[in-house]
Point group: D2
Chain length 424, copies 4
């Protein structure tokens, strides 16, 4: 390695002139790279709403415990409401020196509520505070995703009903080859099954996320008489964390949500893949609505299934986010370590990707039109071989023998003569 | 690219001379590469026990439905028992031409039970058969892992009790820096919390795995009057799959188990990392037992924490397996696709890694000895700053002010004078 | 799944009123979800500089080929310069209806240059345009990362020189246990080796990225007489893509850069881990500078190694991004598919994480101070066992025998009497 | 957690009765779980060939350095040859107590060569030995993969020549929608481009793998006068590792090979996906040969593209293996840690998957037959819109205007009248 010039020592960045709230006893502010690494408010400001909600509940708890006067609480409540308004309107001033949403809010709280604001951090550390915020945010994200999955499921069921009424039969595929005729509704029901499992996993993840870590302090709890139960109740959290060292470093709830999201995105990607095929010029089953396809800047005839492709692509992102979170968690000695900051963006991105992809597939499903020629799908006679074999079995021929003699099937038309098959 | 010679056409491999059970209508057997790709019995023979159990239940169901005579069932039962014995003794002859455990067993069944053996495939396809086998195997793997986690949890609680009785206090760490004094038992309890969540996830995964897909056929169900409920009941599965297209292609249960395993391995890796540090010459908290450390071929003085390092390494493998399974699932058009074969080894490896790592950490925890000098751990006075600050808060000083004035802490000894802190 | 209400059909979003540049022949704009999925300018505006550079080169090429008059080119050049200024000053107006940086720039170009602006898309599609932009951006990112790695390497070598001069000896570790004494410089040189390999991989990735895809059109090239070589030369790209179908869908360069970045981040994470230990109160080798550590809001005595922890956490993110990119690439039928949009953010995030982490570790390394007591590190006598064993070997005793008799080692001091060992 | 019974202390496993070669100074053998974790010979015996080759070169080096007599070397050479024979014939007795291939070979060497065998470990540790073995194995794996990629490339070029001669034109697709007509050969050439990049990456990975770590000892080199250059030359390795701490813990070569393999598998998965479509009943371009498709046990009419599906599935495995390796590497403090054992199976599996998948796709490509109706593929007139637009541009109409007016295209037949387009 050629040493053209010596590496510089730590430079002071723009934000390093200002000392942080924890800066007592430090000769200087952070170096430039550390300052840049530390600034998370550009994205963790998404936690503002839950941070304010958590602070309000904590402050009320302090008052109930006698650690805050009613007057101080009133000043804090008023200041928090004002901060909420400022953030909503976009007039809140974020300072890089305050790194994250939490310190930015606290600084503003002290500006607005003075001495009362200084008291809100009693019995609370950024470590349990951020753990709480992330849990509240994750719960809300799960609720949005679960509702979006319900809406997609409903759309699938609605369309299935239509196809059932119209008695639309298609070739079910294995190995992407026509296998056996099924009702088109049966396909849509298969997707509903996937979504039902996804919602089950989301519900389980929500249950394990809904735990209040407040009272865990930086890692060793607090000696103050905190009203943990009352605060949790106000926040809608049915249980309390049992161990402070675990509570400040636990991000299982993020990883578990991301795991559930990864499977849900795998399902959406599968649905997207099939719908890309079935709306294509070769499979000719459906037409995409104009609202869910796009054109090309060079090929005016194109109607591209961009929604579905982007959904498929988002699945990759969500897998990557899960890997990121697991890798970060794996590397953590007890208890809180700063690596945990890097679990936030994967969580946010995953929630966004899942919710938006569910909406996108819903939009596509709602807009699908059967191509006219498919109101009766052409079933290849050969796909009925199994039915013929099973009929032979019912007459007492061993299955393997029936299989070997059953090709080509005799009289497939007969097997189709009855009602459309929707076996299960 | 230099074309030294033309690429060869498909060559026939050793196994291609023999036609497979599905080989009716094929001019030739598989090419060499396909034959090699297709052979899975070297590892899927681990499914033998569940495959036989599933076949037995299916055969009994066929008899109850009148599709098999009592005599034929008796011949099948006898043959399956004999096959089980052969596999257990290692005398079962696996044929590459039969690819997997399922076809190998079926061929042997036909050899032993003749015509009766040919009838067992009625109402069943390899697709729902393998889905069933993997579910039964996963359930058993979950049960083993959950029990191993319980045993580790118990070991941790036992040791915590010892340390509690001995009143051992250590410095809790954040950012791997001494933060606040805690009871050593509190650390062990933190790990127990992680395991409790892991067991919760395993239990949820088990619930969603315990579904019988039998009756789904290749993808479109069966027209035969199968006793699905009775078969599921015999297999200990409380529910039935609701959609055949979904049931034959669903491997969520594998991915979900692997997700739960990934988090559990992340926890074990964290425990391992901390124990590697704490048994080291610098942290000097514990000594590893001889039975859980190894020596070096070049450095006779070494006592290496190999169990813990291997556990940490296994975590990486389990993450990779989850990634593999998700990627495979993502790429599947409805319904069954052969890609699914590649979800089996990640599942097996993950179950092995998790069970063995849990046992290894249990072994280490059970064998740990406190270094004599740590029966009273040296607590750095500075780690008590928070306690001092909180005492000031209790006296009415705002927290931020207390924080700023609280360094260095006055009289840390006093703060330690009381009972050891085990706050939560 | 409870169907509380039917799922809505596709709603028109805010941006759907405006038709896109490709909107000819579409009855309506995109639905709400598709519109939201499609908008990428909030992050792909980072491509602005390379997009303008690429457009300029393409326009000059068109002029050389006679497809654009000198006057039209002049108008385009002037407009592109003006757009560059607007973007730099932040006054450029991004429209959601124009989705991405490319269409936003093109619309503005037409506003500013009129008919001339409409001509720039001749012989170019968004597909080859975005492929070019991403390649140019990746090359620049590689150059920044490589330079940052060189700076870190220089810092490590500088510090190694210091420690060499001071003759500082430390215990090299295997299994995190003291193994053999080595010069501290030897440790720093180990890290330099890792960085040298990283730079090698980055250089190889750069070489494969530096290929011009222009002329590939949407996927099938162009019938226009384009000056591909001249355009590539102007852009500093030494070679041309050879196949248009491949060129528009190839993102290997992103994945390869991300692979190199993943290994580099693994190395930085390893360095970070070791430095977190060695600056800790137990290992007591180094002190972190104030500029590269942070305090705690609850524990005033703490000096936390946040830079190093965040670097360790970033490694997880970069791994996840690689997995995301690979997963997206895997799922692509020939040729261009919209999934590719989802490869951009992983690329950007990875480049940022790598460059910033390299700077952060450089800052830490430059600011490290040896603790005074380590100007002569305490070497445990037992770590010298290998040396003794090797001395016996040199005298003719078989190694295994020497190993077995060599514990505890006799006269370790003697073995250290000579010059400090820096064997390789 | 219910404590039904206390966790057991470490139990002695079957292999623990026997002490390992490093067992001097240990009161007992390893516990059961550690013993099971430690045993790697069932899979690392794949290193036997390179291990013996490395030992032979090392022994010859020792002799040249005067650390081994000619007679001792002769005994070692003879013993190594005999061991090679025993392993090849399957008569070599592997002992669990000796854990891995290296110790098993060494024990046998001592049995066969006595005192001479004990001398081979002079100047070598298992740490540099295993690093060497893995490098030699990786180099050979790269060579096999690179050759297999060349063979596939040749097959693709051969088929492209055929299609070129037959002038076969197909619709190139973007977004899986017909875009523009291209020669079928152009598609096959796109795949060749991917393989060329893969081979480039493999070659670069090979270069960085071909480094001899021998002489690094356990981590701190050796004081013996080793002939490092001569040994490396004999092994075909052009360079020497420069730093012993790095050399024993470096597995970049595995990760880099796995990265190259991951991209190659992504390419094979893309090819597989397209061929699955194009051999299907809807796309109707090709027929799969019988030798590269399989049937169904329930549906006799099926010809399934199993080779291609399994290739697609293997891609997921290879991604997972890369993730595993990166995760393991990330977690390693300097220098050698036992976690590294867990990098071996991902390496082996990846090499197998890549080589076999390349062969499988080659087999498929060589066996493809054009469906008779595709000797002239039906090109949809609308796919020619771009060509029309470009013709208007050539006549001086601005592109965007041409695009807007160009739909539907006038006289597409004219545009096709000339020679088939194969633009680039």
């Amino acid at each position: 390695m050629k040493r053209r010039k010596s590496a510089p020592g730590p430079r002071r960045g723009k934000t390093s002139g200002k000392k942080a709230l924890w800066g007592a006893g430090f000769a200087s502010g952070p170096g430039e790279a550390l300052a840049r690494l530390s600034i998370s408010h550009p994205w963790d400001r998404r936690l503002a709403e839950v941070d304010l909600r958590g602070s309000l509940a904590h402050a009320r708890g302090l008052q109930r415990s006698g650690l805050l006067t009613r007057a101080a609480l009133a000043r804090i409540e008023s200041a928090l409401r004002r901060i909420a308004g400022e953030i909503e309107r976009g007039s809140f001033r974020f300072e890089d020196a305050d790194e994250d949403i939490h310190l930015n809010v606290e600084r503003r709280l002290i500006e607005l509520a003075g001495d009362a604001g200084r008291r809100i951090h009693a019995g609370r550390s950024r470590n349990d505070q951020v753990a709480l915020d992330l849990r509240l945010w994750t719960i809300a994200a799960i609720d949005r995703a679960s509702e979006a999955a319900r809406v997609l499921g409903t759309a699938l069921l609605d369309r299935a009903d239509e196809f059932l009424e119209a008695n639309v039969v298609v070739a079910a595929r294995t190995h992407l080859r026509g296998a056996q005729p099924v009702l088109l509704a049966h396909v849509f029901h298969a997707w509903v099954e996937m979504l039902l499992r996804d919602r089950g996993r989301l519900a389980d993840a929500r249950r394990r996320a809904a735990v209040s870590p407040l009272g865990s302090g930086a890692c060793a709890g607090s000696t103050l008489p905190l009203d943990r139960k009352g605060v949790a109740r106000e926040l809608g959290l049915p249980s309390l964390s049992a161990n402070s060292l675990d509570a400040v470093s636990d991000r299982d709830f993020a990883a578990e949500f991301e795991s559930a999201a990864a499977l849900a995105m795998a399902h959406l990607s599968r649905i997207a893949e099939d719908l890309i095929l079935w709306t294509g010029e070769e499979y000719r089953l459906f037409l995409l609505s104009d609202a869910t396809s796009t054109g090309s800047s060079m090929m005016p005839q194109k109607k591209n299934p961009d929604s579905l492709e982007l959904t498929r692509g988002k699945a990759g992102r969500v897998f990557g986010n899960l890997m990121a979170t697991l890798t970060v968690i794996k590397g953590l000695p007890l208890s809180y370590d700063r690596d945990l900051q890097e679990t936030q963006q994967p969580l946010f991105e995953t929630a966004d990707a899942l919710e938006l992809s569910l909406a996108a597939v819903t939009e596509v499903v709602a807009g699908l039109r059967l191509r006219p020629e498919n109101e009766r799908a052409p079933i290849e006679p050969t796909t009925l071989a199994t039915d013929v074999a099973e009929e032979l079995v019912a007459r007492g021929v061993p299955f393997r023998t029936a299989h070997e003699t059953g090709y080509p099937p005799a009289e497939p038309e007969t097997a189709m003569a009855g009602a459309p098959r929707h076996v299960m």
